[in-house]
Symmetry: C2
Subunit: 239 residues, 2 copies
């Protein structure tokens, strides 16, 4: 098993992507929202690129079955039901509902890697479950941190490094690239205090400045959720 | 002063590059060769993309003034005077000569960033001198690791991280991105044993397998050379 991590979010241009398992990570906050919402009973998630597309998509489903969620510039979008804070996505609100989600980095990432053999949704919240699924599938992996506006993101890379660390500790002979080795080393640097990585990151600082500090503590909790959502045919579902 | 590092070598697409100081690093081994050769009295270096271009260029200079150097697949090119081992570039051979150099990653990198306000040549060998020059110039910086076949390179990123560490320790208020912060953390991980990073890297392993292990120990020596070569009008010179 070979593990690669794409440190800069752009279309992979990898001819063998269709034979790989891809794990998308947007710790702050899209994939944390997805994992938490589905664990709280949301039916499925439809990631879309634009606000217009979100409203249009919502119109195609029966009234009352759908919630609109997401952010622009980290804040809730006007006319939307929910923002991009995973703490909002609790069963009282989301259970049995379809979520249409548009976020700056996360939803775009899924479109970049949609040709992967399987596309999994990773976060600190479900990291152990994702690691076990990757070990079970036993395919070459491409980890895909969603990044921050097209740039390298510290928190997503540390999350990717944690996944690499868990898989490589469990399975002998896992092949790492320089990038996946670097991600693992970065994770090991923050192992004792993952929250520190989120506070150091540009996106973390921006969220703190905008009043979303509590999301950092929430999103950094490893292994509190045991589901592994999958992106398939434009939808994210946990089973 | 803001310090960015481009973790994946590709054309920067940075509209403000012409106002930035760029530092190109190809620790294994192009920029180590350049820095060492110029410190040993080489007149100037002409980086070219192809072997054909190297021979053609050599023909435009008077006989006996020029040496051909470089590698393909890490090995010396047929008909060339020198390979890509910095240890070959000693004054007895290179003093007073013009070097035409073609390497896989290093020479391409210079073409990617040629629009920088200044383009400096960095390596562990001259890291302190490069840090001082960057501090003197006091401009925003783009560090450009040459990478390994278009991929992230651990050794170049650690070298970039060392440069960031030296500059940020010296000057207050230096602004880092997530990427430059990560590079600095990776450097700090290997601070006590830089050679370990080179042995861990894919390119380092490949060089060891091909019999160039001594180059790793040579290229990792920090601060043994005090010059800062600059790329300008297609030439690399130290003054």
């Amino acid at each position: 098993m070979k593990i690669e991590i794409q440190l800069i979010p752009s279309p992979p241009g990898d001819q063998t992507l269709s034979k790989k398992v891809v794990v998308v990570m947007d710790v702050l906050r899209a994939t944390s929202v997805m994992v938490h919402a589905l664990s709280q009973g949301a039916l499925e998630i439809v990631p879309v690129a634009t606000v217009e597309e979100a409203f249009q998509k919502a119109g195609t489903f029966p009234e009352g079955t759908t919630l609109l969620g997401g952010e622009r510039n980290s804040r809730k979008i006007e006319g939307f039901d929910l923002g991009n804070s995973p703490r909002e996505y609790i069963s009282e609100k989301v259970s049995g509902k379809r979520l249409i989600l548009t976020t700056t980095n996360g939803t775009r990432a899924f479109h970049f890697v949609s040709s992967g053999e399987k596309v999994l949704v990773g976060s600190f919240l479900n990291i152990g479950a994702v690691a076990r699924r990757c070990l079970d599938l036993d395919k070459d992996l491409l980890l895909f941190p969603s990044g921050d506006g097209g740039n390298f993101s510290l928190e997503d890379t540390v999350c990717g490094g944690m996944l690499i660390d868990q898989i490589a500790s469990e399975r002998e002979g896992v092949e790492l690239t320089d990038a996946s080795r670097a991600a693992r080393l970065l994770y090991q640097r923050f192992k004792g205090n993952l929250l520190e990585a989120l506070y150091l990151s540009c996106h973390g600082k921006d969220l703190v400045a905008k009043g979303f500090e509590a999301d950092l503590s929430f999103c950094v909790q490893p292994d509190i959720i045991g589901i592994v959502p999958m992106f398939q045919n434009g939808l994210i579902r946990s089973h």
